[in-house]
């Protein structure tokens, strides 16, 4: 599904290397988690995959189902099946959440050569999915993320993911800023999308999220590289001992 080879990324505006050769292969239907200390490059990797500006890829490749992601515009990557759940979802005053969702869904359908969803069909689907995430009609009507609480913003991300039905979901610290109940709700939303084909890359600081979204593989990232990979037990090790031991082990 997602294949990253020796990915090297720096900042466009200053001479600073952030990713120093990341290798990662996520197969169809797999859930991978990336953990790592602050500043290790986890969020940068998610942004680079989604196509955010301000970064310069200096080496390596990233493909989604053998298609080169790095050459595409953000909207093309989305249409190809990539979805990034933002750590800090952006507030967009003046753009209704519902309008935004419908525009996004139909833009992707168009890019894939499918017909628009009619307003009626769309409404039916969105209502059902919103209900499961406890997103009420008022939240759908409000401007995108404006005045949403931290939990509402994250649930809104998962709703977008559910509506867009991507192949590869990257969740960037979706648990940050969430209380236990909100985290469970979000995790349930994610689990509902696990169908054996869709793949997930879950970036998190804490093992707790991984109690709810069970990963197949856990990677530890530090200083722009993946330094260790293993099963779910690796996350528990981090939870108990922190990153210090792992970092020492590699060094």
């Amino acid at each position: 599904m997602l294949n990253i080879k020796n990915l090297q990324v720096g900042l466009e505006e200053e001479d600073k290397q952030i990713l120093k050769g990341v290798d990662l292969n996520i197969g169809e239907g797999e859930v991978h988690a990336i953990m790592g200390p602050n500043g290790s490059g986890k969020s940068t990797m998610s942004y680079v995959l989604a196509g955010k500006g301000g970064y310069e890829v200096t080496g390596g490749t990233a493909t989604l189902n053998e298609v080169d992601l790095l050459e595409m515009e953000p909207e093309e990557r989305a249409a190809a099946g990539l979805f990034l759940a933002f750590q800090y979802p952006v507030e967009i005053p003046g753009v209704g959440n519902m309008t935004f969702l419908r525009t996004a869904v139909n833009a992707q359908r168009k890019a894939r050569g499918e017909d628009d969803l009619s307003a009626g069909e769309f409404l039916k689907v969105v209502r059902a999915k919103a209900k499961a995430l406890k997103i009420d009609a008022d939240m759908l009507k409000r401007p995108v993320n404006v005045g949403f609480s931290g939990g509402e913003k994250k649930r809104n991300e998962i709703l977008q993911m559910a509506m867009l039905e991507p192949k590869m979901c990257v969740l960037d610290e979706t648990d940050s800023g969430l209380d236990v109940d909100a985290m469970k709700l979000v995790a349930e939303g994610v689990n509902a999308l696990r169908d054996g084909k869709r793949s997930f890359l879950v970036i998190t600081h804490y093992q707790r999220l991984l109690d709810h979204i069970k990963p197949d593989v856990v990677h530890i990232m530090a200083d722009g590289k993946i330094i260790k990979s293993g099963g779910p037990e690796l996350a528990l090790e981090v939870e108990n001992n922190g990153y210090a031991d792992l970092l020492a082990e590699v060094a």
Partner: protein
């Protein structure tokens, strides 16, 4: 002084360029007063402080600069609204294309007819609000209009009205030089909505004098069409009585030169006024100027000025807005915001926000910003699969929407939202 001669030669030439037919004594006096006033002021020139950001030459030059017709197949704005439609072609009332001059709760006639009557209520307003508005800042183009205009409507709302009067301006000749003057009176407790749409003429000079009496409500929504070469100067003079409501909104799209002045005066307590504008300029030389002057001279009144401009491909947007709070106008709440969104490096937004306050118990604020599209918002939208151009349009519409939402009628504001969205979509054609 050569410059001064230029000003006065120009005002004389403009006065001479229009034929003024005879009318009632009061009408001729009002015209004569305005003409004298204009001769004293002279025509506006670029050197004038009030025209620092907008070159008035295109509005005063003779012969009238040509403006090619802009042919399009759009449904005229407000066609879907249940209204009394009144049509002016190149600034001349066209009865054949218009509905009957009749609406429950309203006395309605043409200016031409009213100015011939020896006794008419318009005597107390025609040229009067315009003359009041000449102080402390001179507005020679408005004086010119009073001096020579014969076309327009005289509208008096005497009670509750249930539909708007919609004035449609059609531009038909490429050298038309139109002078249109409307006189509006909203009696105590009455309400009235006036809609205006269309480019009007190659050069269009319009004045509206609106007297909103105690407890009355006046709503005004205007769209100035996309004719690329049109030149427009408008003045709205509003006088607000106690507990009255005044709302005016203008959408301006393209046009080589537009100067919209709104001059409001609060004369009674507890009144509220909003003046708003959304404009989109997409082309080299397109120039929009919103100039607003609000005078608070009574207690506990609230005024809002909300102006948003989206500019690209060399377009220029100007905002000059002033709130004057006179001595004793306590509890005034004055608000003013002007914002420019520049879609490229070739466009300009020039703002001159001013507050002048002589009362000590007021809440006044003003802000002005200029910026580009928010990259984070753009990335967020595109990361969801929305193509960049469409995402940019969504953000532009959202930006202008904050001004459009000042219209206190959701059907009208929705209509304007939709029209703007259609225009943007066409551009991608």
């Amino acid at each position: 002084m050569a410059m001064n001669n230029l000003k006065f030669d120009a005002s004389d030439a403009l006065l001479a360029a229009f034929d003024v037919p005879n009318g009632a004594k009061w009408a001729m006096e009002a015209r004569g007063f305005a003409a004298t006033n204009l001769r004293r002021m002279g025509a506006p020139v670029k050197r004038d402080e009030y025209w620092k950001y907008t070159n008035p030459t295109g509005l005063t030059a003779l012969p009238t600069p040509k403006a090619a017709l802009f042919i399009n197949d759009e449904t005229p704005m407000f066609d879907g609204v249940d209204r009394v439609k009144l049509v002016f072609v190149d600034g001349v009332f066209d009865a054949a294309q218009s509905d009957d001059l009749a609406l429950d709760g309203v006395e309605l006639e043409t200016l031409e007819d009213a100015l011939r009557k020896d006794i008419h209520w318009a005597k107390d307003l025609f040229g009067v609000l315009e003359a009041n508005g000449q102080n402390p800042v001179e507005r020679p183009l408005a004086a010119l209009n009073t001096a020579v205009a014969t076309q327009g409507l005289v509208i008096r709302a005497t009670g509750k009205t249930d539909k708007p009067i919609a004035i449609r301006y059609i531009h038909s000749a490429d050298t038309s030089d139109a002078m249109v003057h409307h006189v509006v009176k909203v009696d105590a407790g009455a309400n009235l909505t006036v809609l205006e749409s269309g480019p009007g003429a190659a050069r269009f000079n319009s004045v509206m004098e609106a007297d909103v009496l105690d407890g009355a409500a006046f709503h005004h929504v205007r769209t100035q069409g996309r004719d690329h070469e049109r030149r427009t100067a408008t003045h709205m003079f509003g006088r607000l009585g106690a507990d009255s409501i005044f709302r005016s909104f203008t959408m301006t799209v393209n046009g080589v030169l537009t100067r919209n002045e709104s001059i409001l005066e609060f004369t009674g307590d507890n009144a509220k006024a909003t003046v708003g504008g959304a404009s989109a300029g997409d082309g080299n030389g397109f120039h929009h100027d919103d100039t607003v002057f609000v005078t608070h001279d009574s207690l506990n009144c609230e005024s809002r000025q909300v102006f948003k401009k989206v500019l690209r491909n060399g377009a220029t947007g100007v905002f000059q807005g002033k709130i004057l709070v006179k001595e004793g106008a306590q509890k005034t709440d004055g608000y003013q915001i002007s914002q420019g969104l520049l879609l490229d490096d070739n466009s300009n937004f020039l703002a001159k926000p001013e507050l002048e306050i002589y009362a000590d118990d007021v809440a006044c604020s003003h802000g002005s910003t200029v910026g580009a599209i928010d990259d984070d918002a753009l990335f967020y939208l595109t990361s969801r699969g929305v193509p960049k151009s469409q995402a940019q349009d969504m953000l532009v519409l959202a930006f202008l929407g904050e001004a459009i939402d000042e219209i206190d009628d959701s059907a009208l504001s929705e209509g304007i939202h939709i029209r703007l969205a259609e225009w943007m979509e066409r551009r991608h054609g």
